[in-house]
Symmetry: C3
Subunit: 472 residues, 3 copies
Amino acid sequence: MGGVQSFREMCDRTKNTNIRLSLPAVCVVWEIAMIILFGVFIRYNWESDAHWAESKHNLSDIENDFYYRYPSFQDVHVMIFVGFGFLMTFLKRYSFGGVGFNFLIAAFGIQWALLMQGWFGSLDYSDGKIKVGVENFINADFCVAGCLIAYGALLGKVSPVQLLVLTLFGVTLYAVEEHIIIKIIHARDAGGSMVIHTFGGYYGLAISWMLYRPNLDQSSRLQGSKYHSDVFAMIGTLFLWMFWPSFNSAIAGHGDGQHRAFINTYLSLAATVLTTFALSSLFQKHGKLDMVHIQNSTLAGGVAVGTAAEFMLTPYGSLIVGFCCGVLSTLGYVFITPFLEKHMKIQDTCGIHNLHAMPGFLGGVVGAITAAAASDTVYSHEGLVNTFDFKDEFKDMVPTVQGGHQAGALCVALIFGIGGGILVGAVLRLPIWGDPADDNCFDDEAYWEVPDDEENIIPNIQYNNHMQNKDV
Amino acid sequence: MGGVQSFREMCDRTKNTNIRLSLPAVCVVWEIAMIILFGVFIRYNWESDAHWAESKHNLSDIENDFYYRYPSFQDVHVMIFVGFGFLMTFLKRYSFGGVGFNFLIAAFGIQWALLMQGWFGSLDYSDGKIKVGVENFINADFCVAGCLIAYGALLGKVSPVQLLVLTLFGVTLYAVEEHIIIKIIHARDAGGSMVIHTFGGYYGLAISWMLYRPNLDQSSRLQGSKYHSDVFAMIGTLFLWMFWPSFNSAIAGHGDGQHRAFINTYLSLAATVLTTFALSSLFQKHGKLDMVHIQNSTLAGGVAVGTAAEFMLTPYGSLIVGFCCGVLSTLGYVFITPFLEKHMKIQDTCGIHNLHAMPGFLGGVVGAITAAAASDTVYSHEGLVNTFDFKDEFKDMVPTVQGGHQAGALCVALIFGIGGGILVGAVLRLPIWGDPADDNCFDDEAYWEVPDDEENIIPNIQYNNHMQNKDV
Amino acid sequence: MGGVQSFREMCDRTKNTNIRLSLPAVCVVWEIAMIILFGVFIRYNWESDAHWAESKHNLSDIENDFYYRYPSFQDVHVMIFVGFGFLMTFLKRYSFGGVGFNFLIAAFGIQWALLMQGWFGSLDYSDGKIKVGVENFINADFCVAGCLIAYGALLGKVSPVQLLVLTLFGVTLYAVEEHIIIKIIHARDAGGSMVIHTFGGYYGLAISWMLYRPNLDQSSRLQGSKYHSDVFAMIGTLFLWMFWPSFNSAIAGHGDGQHRAFINTYLSLAATVLTTFALSSLFQKHGKLDMVHIQNSTLAGGVAVGTAAEFMLTPYGSLIVGFCCGVLSTLGYVFITPFLEKHMKIQDTCGIHNLHAMPGFLGGVVGAITAAAASDTVYSHEGLVNTFDFKDEFKDMVPTVQGGHQAGALCVALIFGIGGGILVGAVLRLPIWGDPADDNCFDDEAYWEVPDDEENIIPNIQYNNHMQNKDV
């Protein structure tokens, strides 16, 4: 800890938020790198290549994977850009940064994710090319989601250059972690409770711990919402909530797999809403509801049902998961977030520990239990093979062993999240990234041309009044 | 009327909006009840069960009902949560309540609707279980829409506990009414003009009549919009308007049925926009447009074409329906809503009488006429059987008789709406639900932690100015 | 130029924005005309007619074109109404006009487009009827997009009656232009770089040139954004950005065509975001980002990849197009828009020259080059025939010649845009349309009942302070 502390001090120099050279340089150089790497590696797969007309044989055009997955892809896309983006507009003077930087890092991350995930998963060894179709693009959105979750912990305290670095490393770590979990350990994780949420949550929390700002209360006047910024954030909340069933079913198996993943997620989310409202009212003076809980905790059910979404979790099982998650997540906002800030030096702006990290971990556990309890009777033999992919080298796998693999996968996600976050956090402490000083945090003025509002007139009026009083 | 009056007075005690015990208790207890009932009754249907892999035989995965209906389901879902939710953010200080309570009651309602509608419609008598798939979830959203419409009349005047009670009874009434109309009377109502809008509209108006507040003008300073709350409401309007074709086609027949329902709704809505703008300008001083009309009346065409959407209404028929509805609905806002409030003791915050009740009734009439006019020539024999479901016990039905059944169904919707609303309104007058006093109506402060805005500084400034004047 | 100038002066009389007669008259009369024309001409096509049940033979219901295109249609629909609508809410006091008039003219335009495009493209010569299905409705939305682009240049400076006239002529011109480009010249333009964006962009710019207001700086205090109006505009930006892949793939060929068009558009847009952020930061003092660039230039990549979207552009080719477009469009906002206003008398409120006109032209060029470079090796023979529709009278066409045709089509789009805009602009200068005076521009007060906000209190406070100072 002492070493970390001295490293921290070494990095704390005078802050300069001018990113006129660094941001353009990083954006342009990295985009040129993307073009070169795409030129060398990325090609259309057989379902998006013009040869499809000849190679589809007796398939109908409607059986192109595009028609199975494109509606879900678009829903996921809305979650990434509008859902995450608007959820982060809740601060009174950081709406531009919330939705704008979310846009920037997601647009970069999906390109890098296509490459990283492609090298691990879609490489055609016959010609050394990555062949991409709609499923790769869904996976790229998933990968970026991990980095956007991490952004939630750091909202208002970092520069866009730092966010691009966070995304570069985050996507890389994600692709390795995903490969280990899905391909090597052979765990199933259709909705990414472990791969996306546990990893992304702890990745962000570890970075936030490394970037701890002891005097952040200097900008606390901006660390709250205002009436309309809370309404904007509800746009994010609702699009996340409505489309989460598409998120968890987007890459599930054709037919019953997607159908069931949607049902489980829908029900879990519905139950979460009720317990979130209940707990929010219970822990406030006069029973008033807190928008922070409604905006965030209502979504925890979707996270926690991610791994088990395509399993035969049963409808009431989904409700139980959602019920518990609403309670857990709201309690997290009331008790755990202040504790983490005070005693653990983890400042978590959006409360991702309550919305992603904890529910993701819970989702991994639920997935392991549900997998271990699977049986031929419940799934049918063919259903079991389809759902858990008991094929090829894993054709002798049994559900109980699968449950153990799921638990192992959860540990891998945790290790990558915390370990990766500490390493990347160390890099982000270097005093070259243009991050804001404590009293510039949560303020769009640092990185944006902000229009003069009527609201800005008010301090002048107060000033005038003050002057008048003096004059009188 | 005297009895009703004295009952009203009995119920009017001092108001206390503290719901710290009642809201959590209702949410938690009801959600536990849902879990138990789902455990006993709800199971996956054959298209969402893992046995699908074995039982689908020579069907392609793409012929799973999921792929026919999921895109429409998601559109409907957006209408319920973002459409209805944001349409109700138009009040200057009730945006949290508009979008937040909409969220709460919809999330509860869809669970209860799955049970209620399941008992009537999807019960598998071989094992006593309700088997659910994507169509059940669309129907659950439809059912909840009825209750959300009713909320529109009561917006700003009731507590969340009252809304949950309204939803519990509303869903129950809806399920019975729907069963009578669809199964017993064998009426067709793909877009729910009768089942959803007529029922929901009169249900809400009857409750509002029972909860009449003679001194509501005490809070009238809050009973208007502000610039940005009107823009937020346009988000709701547009998502409702754009996705209404999905609403009316979501449970229509596969193939031409869904295709035609979308076309009819789209055209009706387009025509409504033009007559709404025309009438809005005509009835304002200086020809200025009124946002209330644009936000609401533009949607009436979608309501009125609901029943006939899957019939061969013809494209120009749809335009005519939309044309009339824009006129009717805008005139409703100009003349009928003030009349209802002044002379009928019905206070209708969102004007649901003009957007849902009247157009829904009109839609039922249009449906009856269109059904009665159907013929083999226009539909083809197989088309007629498919569209009107002239099968099994109804295989000898003829279009003219079907028209009569449609008219009968409309009466059932009316009776359930008005009768149910009076009964539920009586329950909601009991002085135990934490509803706000007249001068707390339309104010989020009653149930929400509201952030201090710069705007709240303004009254202080005025106060200071006042003080200064005195001092001077 | 002298003639144009004197015509301009002739038309500049005292302005009266009272549209209480003209707007209702135009809306009602035109809607009645629509009903009559629809009654005479428009019928369901075979996939939306009840005869489908008999005529589909051994097609599965899922092979109805509805299921290929409806999800894309809905995405396009969202772009037209929410995307374009909210993108135009960025002005501080013109959000009602931005989203409201967009709604009005789109709702009228789609009806007129169904007729105009139907007469040219879907007329069944056996019975003289236009047979419509989902593809016609996508094309109607496309057609309207051209007029909404033109509205972007005129935002805040015209009356709704002028906008309806602009739409009437715009749709007519579009339908003729599209027929020449697609049917006669046999160019391909799936995403409409030429047909929609080049035409719409120059159409709007030419009208704006005709309606030049030399003293517009009188209303310049309103010609900017405020904090929350910029956040509202981001809703428009993001829905356009996310759904642009659906826009460009909506009417592409079934199977690989739609799949590939989505991939190319997605990648181009992702690259554009990075170069837009880079250039925006580079050209501002202190490297601060400008919301105008983020809201608009990030979308240029989708425009420029429109024509070539369904070709084998390759993934890295798409990135290169997007990269260049982000640079070009942002430079346009920094240098070209002020130049056009100062030296060319073109006032372009939303900067459509940078977002639509230039990128659309570039897209036409990219399309011509990509088409000319096509080969059997890359596409397969059947793929080439499918992609470029080398059938019937064009069965002997070769890619190099097709490239020439594409270039010719681009010229047609330019000529129709500029020529049509000058003609329509002359009509719109007539002093009968109720357009606002210079100092009423960019102000919703001219055409809308605007609620009294707390914000409106501020000037009064200032006024009071002023009074007090005098008193003292």
